[in-house]
């Protein structure tokens, strides 16, 4: 019972004790070739999936005769280029 007032901070002390031991190891881990290779592969796969899903979605929307985000983006780029040309002249 004599230790009661110390209880509320104990869990935090435990957390930071664990964190101070674990953090350097994790920081070393993210510097390893294996981790960086995995990161690069994961990034490549997620890009491929995103791009495929985007192309599929755009294809479906365009097949239905509706404007797709791809077309809207192209149109926006053309408008921006026109605006830039007008401002520069």
């Amino acid at each position: 019972m004599a230790d009661l007032p110390a209880l509320p901070t104990d869990w935090k002390q435990v957390f930071f004790a664990v964190e101070s031991r674990l953090s350097p190891r994790l920081e070393r881990l993210v510097r390893t070739d294996a981790f960086l290779d995995t990161l690069a592969v994961a990034n490549g796969v997620s890009r491929l999936v995103r791009r495929s899903a985007g192309n599929l979605g755009n294809g479906i929307v365009e097949a239905l005769g509706l404007p797709s985000s791809r077309q809207v983006r192209q149109l926006q780029r053309s408008v921006d280029a026109l605006n830039r040309g007008r401002n520069e002249s």
């Binding site: 004599a2 007032p5 935090k12 930071f16 953090s23 920081e27 993210v30 981790f35 990161l39 983006r73």
Partner: protein
């Protein structure tokens, strides 16, 4: 026995009281009823072009001190320089009598994806500097943080009319010492184009994940600290403001990012002392103004070994290095900024000014 019971009752009462305050403050913060106001030192917009703006904060008295232009990084919101009342670098400079200008790069979108580093070095920064000079009546000293420091350093390496002083805070120079952020692209695992999204920019979520990777348990430790201090309204607001800022990245303009990775990271060009930008070589030896290179000894983002070589690369006869006990953001906010960065930087500016003897 009575003492033990009294202590137990007191502990239960204290715990209940503390948790009630935690709950109340937590609900207020989550519900948006008591979120800290950020960037609220009064200012006016002096100049604006595309997304970039220049804000002016007036000292309110003519102390004869030179104006100061603050240059933030491209990837975060500029209000880190003016985080909260009582915890603001801008406020600290104003209190010391400086007339302060702050560049806000704005939020890059698809139209900015073609912006190269040269766009910022040769166009926006010189335009903002000229606007600040016109408004203040004399050229400002330049204080720049992180990638803003890269921009300011390359700008100073380009212009013949040097600023009265240049202070670089946590500026990545030797990219071989930048840790996993640079290694993943340096070693050819990822090409910079691989992280651009459909708008042609680096999405904020990617930037956030990259920084979280540097300290894998950093966010969790931050939330534990927030919970621990949640009963204290002011402390909770301070932690919330910083956490909110740290998670609020803006898109990084794609062309500038690609150039940064290819020139600065893979070629380590800044560390060689010469950077080719827009087909023009920028030699750091051309920087002849008084130069102060400040780094934090606990900086995880731009580690001391990456930042410290910058002093030896510039051509200034008065180039100094200052190591402060701070992290990357601690250079600008919190107790370390108030107790160390602000006094050290302003004392150095005063020394430089008296050394010039010309009042510039």
């Amino acid at each position: 026995m009575t003492t033990v019971v009294n202590r137990a009752v007191s502990w239960v009462r204290d715990t209940a009281d503390r948790n009630a305050r935690r709950t109340l403050n937590g609900l207020r913060l989550v519900g948006g009823l008591d979120r800290p106001n950020t960037g609220c030192t009064p200012h006016v917009a002096m100049w604006r072009e595309d997304r970039a703006s220049l804000w002016r904060y007036r000292a309110g008295m003519d102390t004869g001190r030179p104006p100061v232009l603050l240059v933030p990084s491209l990837i975060n919101r500029s209000h880190i320089w003016d985080l909260r009342p009582g915890d603001s670098f801008v406020e600290g400079l104003l209190d010391r009598g400086y007339d302060v200008f702050l560049i806000d790069w704005g939020t890059a979108d698809e139209q900015d994806s073609d912006n190269t580093m040269s766009t910022y070095v040769d166009h926006y920064l010189p335009a903002a500097y000229a606007a600040a000079t016109d408004a203040a009546g004399s050229p400002p000293a330049v204080l720049a943080h992180c990638f803003g420091g890269v921009i300011a350093t390359l700008w100073a390496a380009t212009v013949t009319e040097q600023p009265p002083a240049l202070v670089a805070l946590g500026v990545p120079t030797n990219w071989a010492e930048m840790g996993p952020l640079a290694h993943v692209t340096q070693q050819g695992r990822l090409d910079p184009e691989d992280v651009l999204d459909d708008t042609g920019n680096v999405p904020p979520a990617t930037m956030l994940r990259a920084f979280q990777m540097l300290r894998p348990l950093g966010d969790l430790a931050g939330y534990v600290t927030l919970w621990d201090r949640l009963h204290d309204r002011r402390a909770a607001q301070a932690i919330w403001a910083l956490t909110d800022w740290a998670h609020d990245h803006v898109p990084f303009p794609g062309a500038a990012f690609v150039e940064m990775i290819r020139r600065l990271s893979r070629d380590n060009a800044l560390y060689t002392g010469e950077v080719l930008l827009g087909d023009r070589p920028r030699s750091l030896k051309s920087i002849t103004c008084p130069f102060l290179n400040v780094y934090g000894t606990h900086d995880h983002v731009t580690p001391p070994d990456s930042v410290s070589p910058l002093t030896g690369l510039v051509g200034s006869a008065r180039a100094h290095t200052l190591a402060l006990q701070a992290g990357h953001i601690g250079l600008l906010v919190g107790g370390s900024a108030r107790k160390h960065t602000l006094p050290a930087v302003t004392n150095w500016l005063t020394t430089v000014r008296s050394g010039n003897g010309s009042g510039t």
